[in-house]
Amino acid sequence: MPQHPTLHSLLDETAAAHQDRCAMSTASDSITYKNLAQASRHAAHLLRAHGVQRGDRVVISSPDAITVAVAVHAASRAGAMFSVLHEDVRDSPLQHVLQDCEPAVIVTDDPGVSATAQAHDVQVLTSQELRHAPAPREGSHLPNPPLGVDGACLIYTSGTTSLPKAVVSTHQQVLFAAQAIQDCLAYRADDIVYSPLPLSFDYGLYQMFLTFLAGAQLRVGHVAEVGPPLLRALQDSKATVLAAVPSVSDRLAWLVRRAKNKPALRLLTNTGAALSEKTIADLREAIPTLRVQLMYGLTECKRATIMPPDGDLQRPGSSGKALPGTEVFTIDDDGKRLPAGEVGQFVVRGSHVMAGYWRRPEMTAERFHRRDGLFPELRTGDYGWMDDEGYLYFSGRRDDLYKERGFRVSATEVEAAARRVEGVDSAAVLPPGPKTGHTAVLAVVTELDGPEVLARMQGLIEDYKIPRRCVPVPHLPTNHNGKVDRQALTNLIHDPAHA
């Protein structure tokens, strides 16, 4: 029997040990472990009173992290699966989610979101109703609680070609992933973990579970404070850990370079995309106490590999080793396992491989492949190689790979090479296609001119991988995940000013 069979039992055990310690805070609010456990217990009764049964779905759309935390644990107690949506998911993307998972209840204060929900016969609860739900009658217990093998959450991820689909995780899968990550990152009870991403991103959501495993405090940043005010927010919150993505780290590097007082960070983690070596070096120089842990993963298993602290210094370019108790290897196009050093598709095995995609049996069978028809293995769609010691080297997503001049090229690799050129701040590749005149185009943020960047890339990667065209741009447009928005970038470089 695992230590915490369900998400809410993790909260309850941490609350029993750390009663009045602050579990979570935002710029304007905070809640203790005891109060969070109690509020979610009351809210669970409210959900059941609104007809939420075991196995039902509860959608949460709130910019307030504490409301989300209460709702997540209330849904868990009621045996329902929660799905946390970004507040920008509205109108037709929201309709898609509501039709796809048919929630019994949505938690929101947004009039537009409420209207869409009501049009789909979904009951609306406000954050006030949820956070201040009345105490149930003395001694009343919720019947029919969930098992560890029941669904706990739905995380919507966008595909390149199809509508967003939800990755379904059971309680056990979430908790196994969180515990394995915590074994690598070792958050401490006295840590204040700053998450610049809201809980609608799985990176943000898991920060909550990691924090609870450690009995620490999670400080969730607001979009308005993770830009220029980020340094101030880290100092004011006394953060010791920053769960970053590359764009956040790049901003922090710029800010700390010119600040007199440095934040007291002891650990920075990175995921989402490769972090530039220059940014890491700048941050290390400015904050001597800082250690860095690079990671790689995808929602379908949450996290695949993690670097030991500062492991990037010994093994530049690697994203670390498989989580404890799991394995990662590569396969060829026929599904045959490849030896170390050979490039292939990464496959992940372990108890953190999630259940599959909600109501997408074909897609689930393809991505969550069952070897011999039985044993689940996640075929990630990501490519790269493993070294002899089990360290992972990412070379690109399947859709990041393109062919030019007969060679298979990884956009990720070309971008990394461009960023190593002195004077280049950031870079993105648009693969060959109708809109790029069928040649790859390298977009760079730099003071240099295009041909000069290409010339300086010689020697950094094979010549055939260097795109023929390089266009300096004022900035790289990014989407909500902080990843480059290639569509917007295509439009940007076709602006007559850059022709």
Binding site: P196, V226, G227, R232, A259
Partner: protein, 89 residues
Amino acid sequence: MSLNRADVTAAMETALNKVLDRPVTGLSGQTRLFDDLHLDSTTMLEMLMELEDSLGLEVDPEELEADDFETVDTFTDFALAQLETRNAA
């Protein structure tokens, strides 16, 4: 040389043209940077960097507060106060 509010607004429009890569004109004091102009945390910093160049603004990262980045007015107040401190120094 001392700058007035109109100068700051004009410099913001120029900076935003560049950062957002689209024409930005007719900013009013109440224009909200996140909700109306759809700036995000990255473009917000880029705007600030542009204004450092164009206005000779030199910000102290430890002084930057979220409230200053709410509207054109709050940002203008912040920028003018920073410029004044600097001229006085």
